[in-house]
Structure formats: structure tokens, C-alpha cells
Amino acid sequence: MKKLYSNKLHILIFLLPALLLFCGVLIAPIGASAYFSFFDWSGFGAKTFIGFSNYKELFTSNAIGFLKALRNSLLLALLSVFLQLPLALALALTLGKKIKGERTFLSVYFMPVLISTVVIGQLWLKIYNPDYGILNVFLRSIGREDWAQIWLGNKKTALGAVFVPTLWQYVGYHMLLLYAGVKSVPQELREAAMLDGATDGQVNRYIVLPYIKPIIRISVIFAVTGSLKSFDLIYVLTNGGPLHATEVPSTLMINMLFLRNRYGMGSTIAVMLIILCFGFALLISAIFKEED
């Protein structure tokens, strides 16, 4: 048995497809992106080495507006952590209390996560439509014609209008993770606390929340990195417009690559995104450790 399972050739054959696929599509491209980011390159033909110029331009050029795009995605991250997560947590705690219809509520709340973001985006385009969208129709019907807006076309409202469905779609995802955590709290712990006369709120505060802290950490990391990477809904709703009001790093990256053929700059944005995602993940983990 041991001999059969230690055969080096077999080990290699079993691992080779996974290694090829994983290194070829995930690992090597990270290095390649980093490499491309030092060049001025239109995708095909000669590359010109320009050192850190792309990075300098990215952070200083107002025409590209990377800092604004970054600010938008960080704002989304803040809203996600302080609005979406608390709502998800409240739902998870409530559903975790053996409420009637628990499964039905859970399944419905999770449903938007499974629907394609393009479909969700198309639906919200219709909801926001200035002439026939149900939002404006509703506002007119209650006599607030003056509140009706060209939601996605107005520089002032576009960002908010894009954030609402983005935050809404993933409440169910965070709820599910947190709910799984709440359900894993040993029943004895709860009962012991109840016997000592703890109220519902106290049980949540002193038993459940500390117990599910690792899952809260994961949720916060996903909320922040997900916001930094957000693309689909914004692409469908505004593609970064009007006048870059809803630009985020990903939409900027796609525009650099496929509208302006600036592959070096596009790679630079990709590299910044990877650094930011890993950086924030580490930072959040460190903050949670600090608290212990």
C-alpha cells in the first residue's frame, strides 16, 4: 500500500493537470501583470519600458481619475461594512432563534445572490428609468413629481443609485455566512446563559457574537474586497458614467484595456487591485486579532 501510494510518477500524473491549470491561469498571470505594468504597450507590437511611470500617472493624473474611482469603491466598502453587514447580522441572529418559517425566509433572502448580476442590473435599469421606471412612477403617484430624477444620468444621484442594488444583492450572502455561524453556537452555551437570567440581547452580545467573530471577520473581508473588485452591476447600470461619477477601479481597468488599448496602464490597475485586496484582507485580520 505504502509503496503503491509513494510512486513519484503517479503523484506527478495526478497533480499535473491541476498544477498546469492553476499556475497557467492564476499564478503566472499575476507575475505577467506586474511585468506589463512597467511598460507602455498597446497590446500588440513593441513594448516600451517606462519604469514606474504608469504608477505615477495613475496616482497623479486627473484625466484617468483613479483616485476618484478608488474613493468610490472605498465608500462602497464603508457602506457595505456599516450598513449591509449589520442588516445581514440582524437577519442572521433573528433567523438563528428557531423562528417559524426560518428556512423559507433564509431561502428567499439568499435568492438575489444566485441571480445573474446582469439580470439584476437590467431590472434596476428599468426601476430607475426616468419615464416609465417604477421609482419615478411611484413618486409621481404620491404627488412628489419634484423628487423624480434621472437617477442614473444625474451626477449627484448616480453613485447612490448604483450602490443601492449592489448592497441589496449581497445582504443574503453575508446573512447566510453569519447564520451558519449562529447555528454553530452550542445550545448548552445559550441555555446556560438563559438559566443565569440573560436576556435575548445579552445572549447575542456576550455568547453569540464572540463565538462567531471569525465569521464576522470573513464577512468584513469579503465586503471590503468585494467592494474594491465590484464591476458587474456598475458596468450594466452606468459603465462608470455620467462623467466618471460612478467609476470604480474595475470599470476603469476595462476601459483602459479595451477602449484605449493601454495594456500597460490596465495591468497597473490590475496590480493595484491585487495589492489593495490582499492588503485590506491582512489589515482587517490584524484589526480582529488586536481586539482579542
Binding site: L4, P17, V25, F105, M111, S116, T117, Y235, S250
Partner: protein, 277 residues
Amino acid sequence: MRNISKGRQIVIYIGLILWMLVNLFPVYWMFTFSLKSNPEIFGENIIGLPREWLWSNYSSALNTGKMGVYFLNSAIVAIATILITLVVALMATFALTRLIWKQRKTLNKFFMLGLTIPIHASIVPVYVTLSRLHLLNTYWALIIPYSAFSLSMAILVCTGFMNEIPRELDESACIDGCSVWGIFLRIIVPLMKPAVATVGIYTFLQCWNELMFANVFISKSSLRTLPVGVQALSGQYTTEWGPIGAALVLATFPTLFIYIFLSKKIQDSFVAGAVKG
């Protein structure tokens, strides 16, 4: 719920039901407007059930809007991705949990890096490579990257299940004269059905809904997948909403259909992918 007053219970239920409506309404609205005419959608009957059920919206979406083609493309890409992911992940997991060699823990951690790498990281190099290999505008342009990005999650799930298969089974098969391949194919793989289901569902959802790669790597309209196809269709039918609604329903119903029957399994697969990553 024992020690909560009746009043608070009612407030809680009202809150839960309101949030349920917020989640159900867009889907309900999508289904109803996919069967309505413009005058109904635009004012006469905005949120009610359709007065006249306009199935012709669906034939417009399928014929003029080519939703049938996009649907088929999405299905081909999804099925091929699932098969490749499963075969590759099962093989790798076998080596990572059963075969005996030194660095297997390290390599397992290495594969788990994939759970955190954003797809943005690889878009430029993968695009350039695909174009050099003349694979842009083929199904492979999506199948290969999708399989790669599903791999970490698949290995994670498979490892959990494979570790639970008792090693005595391998021993006795070995004594009976089975080769490594025999043990893998006849003993291990048949026992991995639950893992196969979890990985299959999760992978399906990831590639069925993916937009960024599908949008960039495929420009030929006959090869578009549903998310890109729906985008194209809505550009085509800017003034007629019925066919767009029909297209949205066509793109969504397979997912919802699976969800109705396998909601627990789907939810578990999402939790498994997140909590261990």
C-alpha cells in the same frame, strides 16, 4: 422565541416579511412584465398580473434576440467547465489526501491561494495568451479560465469529503490487487458523489453568471453567453420592454429551478467555500 413578548414577535415578523417582499418583488415584477405589452408596463398595469399573456415576447427574445443561442452557449461552457473542474480537482485531491509525499500540505495551501485571487489579476495576460493561441472567440476562451478559477473551491470541497472515506477501503482494494488508478476510479470516485454535486452546483452558478471574461474574451455574437447576450439584447430592444423581460426570465429560470429543489445544498456550498477560505 419563548421569552419574547407577543408585541416584539409581531414587529420581528413584520420586518422579516417586509425584507422578504423587497427580495421577491424584483423577481415577481420581472416575470409579470415579461408577459406584458408596452402600454401595460408603462402605465395601465404596472405591478399587477398581465391582463393579456403575451407569450410572443418569449418568441421575440428567442428568435430575434437569439436567446436560444446564448442559452446553448452558456450551457456548453458551464457543462464543460464543470466536467474539467471535477476531473482535475478529484485527481489533485487524491494526490493531496491519499498519496504519500512530503510537500503535500504546502501544495494544498498553495491551491487555496486561488480562493482570494481576484479574476482581474489575470485578465490582461490571459487575454494576450488566448489571442496568441488563437483561442479568443472559442468556447475554450471561457472554459479554461473558468475551470482554473473554480479549481481552488473544488479542491477545498473534495478534500473535506475525501478525508472522510475510510483508508481501510484503499487497503483492502490494494490487497485485492487494485492499481492506483483502480482504487481511484473504482473505490474513491464513486464515493465522492456528494462532493461532485456540491462542486458541480457551485461551479455552474459561477460560470452561468460571469460577465467580465465573457464580455472581453468573446466578441462574436454567435458565441456569446447569456449575461453578455442579455446586455446585447437590451441594447437592441430599448423601447420594447416585454422581450427584455422574457430574456431576463430565460436567463434566470434554470438557476431558480435548481435552487427550488436544492436550496440547502446550494447554501451549504456557499458556506463551505467561504468559511474555510
